[in-house]
């Protein structure tokens, strides 16, 4: 029988994750089977999963999907006319007029690749976007893994390194491990709302000497989990750094639709790059990523993302486009993506509802972020940087030393222990900062604030109750 020694060393090297979400699922299961708990149900806000928290999907998106799945609905009078027309158009773009076929080409359905390119051009004030530079996949993890796999080479000091922000998305460290590349951490500056610091980028790069060969820098904007939104100057700094240090830029821009901070706007890396002069715009290798797991769509479970690849060597790009030839991105998620980049416009029957739903989402998010930040900042031993975008808050925990010791004895990180206890006692599941790459004594928790306001209030009440009890126990 195969044993642990027979397992791929790369797989073995994937770091273990905390089992917080699994635990939350178990507790939910126990409650369903009638177990008595100090709470009615579990509130899980550890992932950027708005639907789980109770936010509704966009009606137009789901109407179009339903009609595409079951074309009998194209005759249904209860569906808005523009949803029906969109469904008809999209079905026409599918082989055999069915969402059950493979995409015509491996990177995705050509009509939708074109829609995405047009969206990008509109978004970036006319900067050209070529459908041939776009590749769809089943989620941003998959999309990133393709690019990382393409870049993974070397061993020891020639092993590909990726500069990674601390904190980073909680799903990124394991992805880097699986891809066989080395995580080279660069610290974001908490006191300045988690801004990027150029000196820190240089310092991080130096630490890689002799350990690995950095070939890429990853950054998310708006930041996951920090909520920091970069201004133009900051983006230029990162681009320039990547250019001069010979790094491919990997930018995750999933929350581009959710900037609520005052005086801040989302500008895409591609746009800034295009406005930095030919020396940059025609040379810097940039891969930018977007997905339907965005704040307003929240369609995490459908698994759909795209990458746009700029300035990659054509011969290498050819390999990237063919890399997942033997698989195919799911069709429904491509359809949802098309609606996301090409929503109803003024005059369309669904425009009013669509814009109301978007506004509702953004208002809820903005309001919740502010409310939660204020609330948490009042709690002793908790300190929260205000976020400007994205769906998370990422407060710092100042934990009593006794708790840190207890955690050490139990062999877990203190922020994990905090989250475990919180789950057991109050039925709230948050993320622990160590999942986002933070190391002790930097303890943080991560919470998704895109939820119905009632749910948020309930969650905050339970969290506060737990937190104050904890501090009471260790005065």
């Amino acid at each position: 029988m195969s044993s642990l020694q027979d397992v791929n060393p790369t797989v073995r090297s994937i770091r273990a994750t905390t089992s917080l979400q699994g635990l939350a699922a178990c507790v939910t299961e126990e409650i369903a089977r009638g177990a008595k708990k100090p709470f009615q149900q579990v509130i899980d806000v550890s992932s950027g999963d708005p639907h789980r928290a109770g936010m509704a999907p966009m009606s137009f998106v789901r109407q179009v999907l339903a009609a595409c799945i079951y074309p009998e609905l194209l005759k249904d009078k209860s569906l808005p006319l523009d949803a029906i027309q969109r469904a008809q158009t999209l079905l026409g773009a599918c082989s055999g007029g069915s969402v059950g076929s493979y995409s015509v080409t491996p990177p995705g359905i050509p009509y939708i690749l074109k829609s995405v390119a047009e969206f990008i051009m509109r978004r970036d004030g006319g900067v050209n976007s070529n459908p041939e530079d776009i590749i769809f996949s089943s989620g941003s993890q998959k999309a990133l893994s393709l690019v990382l796999h393409l870049m993974a080479s070397g061993q020891g000091e020639t092993r590909t390194g990726v500069l990674t922000p601390m904190p980073c998305p909680h799903t990124l460290p394991t992805l880097l491990d699986m891809s066989g590349v080395t995580l080279v951490p660069y610290q974001l500056t908490e006191e300045r709302g988690w801004a990027v610091d150029l000196d820190e980028l240089h310092r991080a790069l130096k630490t890689a000497q002799g350990r690995c060969s950095p070939r890429a820098i990853y950054i998310s904007n708006p930041g996951n989990p920090t909520g920091h939104v970069q201004d133009r100057k900051s983006i230029e700094t990162v681009i320039s750094f990547a250019a001069t240090e010979g790094l491919v830029l990997l930018t995750e821009e999933v929350y581009q639709d959710s900037v609520y901070g005052k005086g801040r706007d989302f500008i895409s890396y591609k746009r800034v790059l295009s406005e930095m002069g030919k020396d940059y715009s025609e040379t810097v290798e940039l891969v930018s990523l977007h997905s339907i797991s965005s704040a307003c769509m929240g369609e995490c479970g459908l698994r759909g993302a795209y990458i746009e690849v700029i300035n990659m060597e054509p011969a290498v790009m050819k390999y990237l486009r063919e890399m997942h030839a033997s698989s195919s991105p799911p069709v429904l998620s491509q359809l949802a993506l098309e609606v996301m980049v090409n929503p109803p416009t003024p005059g369309d029957p669904s425009y009013k509802t669509y814009s109301q739903e978007i506004l509702h989402s953004l208002t809820t998010l903005s309001h919740n972020a502010q409310r939660a930040c204020e609330f948490l900042n009042v709690l002793p031993g908790m300190n929260c940087q205000p976020a400007m975008g994205g769906v998370f808050l990422y407060p710092r925990l100042h934990l009593p030393p006794q708790m840190v010791e207890e955690a050490q004895m139990l062999g877990v990180e203190a922020d994990v222990l905090y989250c475990q206890r919180l789950l057991e006692e109050e039925g709230v599941c948050l993320g622990a900062g160590c999942e986002n790459g933070q190391e002790s004594p930097n303890y943080h928790i991560r919470l998704c604030v895109l939820a119905p306001p009632d749910t948020l209030e309930e969650m905050l009440a339970r969290l506060s109750s737990f937190h104050l009890r904890l501090l009471d126990r260790f005065p």
């Binding site: 797989v11 299961e29 999907l65 320039s240 995490c300 390999y319």
Partner: protein, 516 residues
């Protein structure tokens, strides 16, 4: 000077120093003195294993087919009015209809407001409610657990138990996947280790479905070819397995044996005896069995029956059923569903070491979760309408119609191709393809080789240009040296298939004449 250029000049001193120190290619100066940066990611710096990967089913011949389609639509004159794509196992693309019940439930799950719509049958509604109940926030847009929605895994386990006459199945052994390909690649990734002569070797049948060779090339695993026997309807021959294994042991560490049953591209359905023999062989040689059973409902020949590897394993008693490591794969893409676009699938893991299984669980969690609609569809496939339910009759009618149409086309294909001198076609016992052997005249072989082309690629390209029919050359799947084949699907609607077969016949006769 704009801000960007200022930054560039400012960093230039630092950059050339640090870049050189890090061994980067120096900046190139173009003619007007403006430096042009060398690319970071080049053919030389990229992952070398990616360069080794080919996937014939979507390869150059398909790209040419798409080009021809474009040219036709632009009004160019061709010797044909349409391109017939008989290269890929995509049933819906060829006009096969989806199962109404499945699409109704999925539509209801997508837009639950439709639960108030009286045009949907009650059983579809209750199924949708049940699925939505198992989704976070009652929405398919929520992430699921990475191993898959628990209630779906339970339903899959029950399906397997029913299929295998009560052989127990533990839902914990079920992993939902993004199509079967995802599962296959994941398990291969898990198993590949070692260096040099200790490198993992994986046995695959020749001819094979190129997903396997592509995955093995990417993982730098050693591909161990065992030949199926064309003379005996592509059966597996234990002595051939032994030969391949013994030879492979000299340069690698053979760890796994992959079987596709029913077969792709060959269409054979292995006999129960054969499966037993393979299990015995795997037990003796301590090989991990990977059974790709995605075509399990596609069995046409009266003399054939699908036997699941698991059932046979358990029938062989505890000496085998407690020890032989087996993974079996299934998906929503084939059989009577043909729902490739949903990316639904599962794998069942049997007798895997607990620690190894924990590594597998960890590995699948990295990509978060499989698409929820695909999981929902898998749930319906393993849990279809039952007798007495409102949708039962229609479901049975549709399923029977699809499967019998395929059976008819399987027979038709074999019959017509066997009337052609120089084409020899084994019975299409199952799956969705025919893999006939073709005789290519010496002159044509020479012309092909002079052009640096495989003779069967040369043949298929000519076929495409002259008739608009897109097939995949046998060289993409592997074949015995000196033999040539092509793979065609039996998926086009019967009338189109008939035209296709006759055109292939005509072409072959002309081609043989031309190069005699």
């Amino acid at each position: 000077m704009n801000h960007g250029t200022a930054l560039l000049w400012k960093r230039r001193a630092l950059s050339s120093l640090s870049a050189t120190r890090r061994g980067l290619p120096k900046e190139k100066m173009s003619e007007n003195g403006v430096s042009s940066r060398a690319k970071v990611l080049t053919i030389d710096t990229m992952n070398p294993t990616v360069k080794k990967v080919e996937y014939a089913v979507r390869g150059p011949i398909v790209q040419r087919a798409l080009e021809l389609e474009r040219e036709l639509s632009q009004g160019m004159k061709k010797p044909f009015v349409e391109v017939i794509k008989a290269n890929i196992g995509d049933a819906h693309a060829m006009g096969q209809q989806p199962i109404t019940f499945f699409r109704q439930v999925l539509a209801l799950c997508s837009y639950p407001e439709l639960l108030n719509d009286t045009t949907f049958p009650e059983d579809a509604k209750s199924r949708a409610r049940r699925i939505l109940q198992s989704c976070g926030g009652y929405s398919m847009g929520s992430y699921s657990a990475s191993q898959g929605i628990e209630s779906v895994r339970q339903d899959v386990a029950r399906y397997i138990e029913r299929r295998d006459d009560g052989v127990p199945c533990d839902p914990d052994d079920i992993y939902l996947t993004t199509g079967a390909s995802d599962g296959i690649v994941t398990v291969l990734k898990l198993l590949v280790c070692g260096e040099g002569a200790a490198r993992t070797g994986v046995m695959i049948s020749i001819p094979q479905y190129p997903l396997y060779s592509a995955a093995l090339a990417e993982l730098s695993a050693v591909q161990i070819n065992y030949y199926l026997n064309e003379e005996t309807c592509w059966s597996m021959d234990i002595s051939e397995l032994q030969r391949a294994l013994d030879e492979a042991r000299r340069h690698c560490n053979p760890r796994a044996l992959c079987i596709i049953n029913p077969g792709n591209p060959t269409g054979q359905v292995q006999s129960r005896q054969c499966i037993e023999d393979v299990i015995r062989f795997a037990a003796k040689e301590r090989l991990f069995l990977m059974a790709d059973e995605v075509y399990q409902d596609n069995v046409y020949a009266d003399s054939c029956k699908f036997h699941s590897f698991k059932k046979v394993l358990f029938d062989m008693g505890p000496e085998y059923s407690n020890t032989v490591e087996l993974v079996s794969f299934h998906s929503t893409s084939k059989c009577y569903m043909g729902e490739c676009g949903f990316r639904g699938g599962y794998m069942e893991i049997i007798n895997m070491d607990d620690e190894v299984k924990a590594q597998l669980t960890k590995l699948v969690s990295v990509r978060l979760c499989p698409p929820v609609p695909g999981q929902a569809l898998m749930d319906l496939v393993v849990n279809p309408p039952q007798t007495g339910e409102p949708s039962y009759d229609k479901f049975i009618k549709e399923r029977t119609a699809t499967l019998s149409a395929l059976a008819e086309k399987a027979t038709l294909t074999e019959q017509v191709l066997n009337t052609v001198q120089g084409i020899s076609c084994n019975p299409v016992q199952g799956a969705m393809y025919s893999f006939p052997r073709i005789t290519i005249p010496e002159k044509a072989i020479k012309e092909a080789t002079d052009n640096g082309q495989q003779p069967d690629m040369f043949y298929c390209m000519k076929l495409l240009e002259e008739t608009g029919i897109c097939l995949v050359p046998g060289s993409g799947f592997g074949q015995k040296d000196g033999t040539y084949h092509f793979r065609m699907t039996i998926l086009p609607p019967k009338d189109k298939l008939t035209i296709l077969l006759n055109k292939v016949k005509e072409f072959h006769q002309k081609f043989t004449q031309q190069y005699s």
